[in-house]
């Protein structure tokens, strides 16, 4: 049995679900960001797989390369903000950092 598009899409769907689950259930800010990272990677895997197996055009893979760079940039900003949050609250638990009502 050779690895085909179906396998990639299945892995991507699994990654997406795990990411969404992590996003919804976690209270730790860093863990939430990890869930978001999983969702991003699921999308990038999709793009690369569709580009390779379905369309034979490199544009999806180029999108994936851009996406990797952007995910890194986003992680830098997000972790800097988490660090700032930690300095202000001495915790990164989102259940305890609630100065703003709502």
């Amino acid at each position: 049995m050779s690895i085909g598009l179906g396998h990639f899409v299945a892995v991507s769907a699994l990654l997406f679900s795990l990411g969404l689950f992590c996003l919804i259930t976690r209270r730790n800010a860093v863990a939430i960001l990890m869930g978001i990272e999983l969702i991003l990677n699921a999308a990038l895997l999709n793009l690369a797989a569709f580009s390779r197996y379905l369309h034979g055009q490199p544009d999806g893979q180029i999108f994936a390369v851009f996406g990797i760079v952007l995910a890194a940039a986003e992680a830098v900003v997000a972790l800097a903000i988490v660090l700032q949050l930690y300095r202000a609250f001495r915790t990164v638990d989102t259940a305890e950092t609630t100065e703003l009502k709502g």
Binding site: S12, F16, G19, L23, A29, I32, L33, I36, I39, L40, A42, A43, L44, N46, L47, F50, S51, L54, H55, Q57, D59, G60, I62, F63, F66, G67, L70, A73, E74, V77, A78, A80, I81, V82, Q84, L85, R87, A88, F89, T94, T97, T98, E99, L100, G102
Partner: protein, 500 residues
Amino acid sequence: MLPDLAGLRGGAAILPELVLTGTVFAVLVLDLALRRSARRGRVLLLVTCLGLAAAATAIAGVSAGAQPLFYGMLVADGFALFVKGVVIAAAVVGAILAALSPEIRRDQLGEYLILLVCLTLGMCLLAGARNLLMLYLALELVSLPSYILAGFRHGDRRSSEAALKYVVFGAAASGLMLFGFSLLYGLAGTLDLPGIGAAVVARGLQGGLDAQLLVVVAVLLSLAGFAYKVAAVPFHMWCPDVYEGAPTPFVAFLSVAPKAAGFAALLRFFLSGFGAPLGFPAPGEFPWPFVLGVLAMATMTVGNLAAITQDNVKRLLAYSSIAHAGYLLMAVAVGSPLAIRGVLLYLPIYLLMNMGAFLVVMAVHDATGSETVDGFRGLGARAPYLAVVMAVFLFSLTGIPPLAGFIGKFFLFAAALQTKSMFFYAVAVVGVVNSVISLYYYARIVRACFLEKPADAQAPVRVGSPAAALLGALAVPTLVLGIWWGPLLGVVEKALLLPR
């Protein structure tokens, strides 16, 4: 042999973006070079405003054309140019607000302005993006500086929490959107928006139920990113917390410019991606106007009902901005030429009245330290000028004639009624009822200003002359456009002359 590079020539069409990029570098270098100078802040503000003015001039010089640039990545049509103009105007006001506000430390003003211009550059690209990759890149270029600016008050607990909420919601929404994009790419085999539209319509018509379901899921996921940017239900939860915690000059900018760019991108996504105009109900296709219409009703109702009970004025204006996103979403759902005209007309009007209201909030906060409705008590006696212009902005936000907000809303509702469909009649009725509800909470602030006595005898609130001049510059057009909107409508008509 060199590949054909003709498609790489953007020509004068991307001059505004190039000028903005140059401004970023100029401010960056000057910020370092003038570190010890006493006039650093003033010079940086001047350079930023000059750069933005140069970009606006460049926009005026671009000959609008529907011709795609850079192998179909961007387009500089009248629609995009108009939105760019609105965004740059908001950036000028935003830069001046930052320089006036004590919330932004003087030694950090340079950083603030750099990020603000980066954000503006991202929004200009977003307005012209017609490719999924460009759309995603531009959206991230808007998001990343926004996250930083929301948490700009270092060590402030509320600002840190606001930034965290913003970044978590933002990253989640953009992740969902990217997943939706990847599915759209899989379905269509192209990242080009018009190409996707053609392929998706074809698939939806030919394919079975599963293909249609996949299209629906992909578009719904993609909608998440746009809904987040414009603060529409169900991605509005970040809005009140971020508005309350983030520095006020940034909130004033955030409430207007990214919303304008987000609506421009949403309109282009739906209109060039799914054929224009969206008929209702489109046969053989998923009824997107219906979905957007329901979202619009939910957005305005949630925004207005939640605003009633707010005591913090920044939170109240946050819910009010959610409600306004609902009115605009109603026009997006209609998608007719009149509706697009209405959206374009509404954006500059919304800029004037919302940024004006935030400027008053900022001035009152700086003078009294209060951001609550009670802080506005007796403002009519303590600072008549502030109180009067605040009343103008708030009544304009409500949509009472003869103020500009009425004209803006009039076109949005006219577009909904023009469809002659029962569904959009219902949406319009919900919108009108919501406008009446909004009068209650806007009028609450005005009543506090004029009819209530301050809690204790307080000194008059002083406004600096730059702030007073800026307030006048925002309030006078709010009054004039309500009576004499012809010129603005003319600009909008000109922007829409070209086919998309």
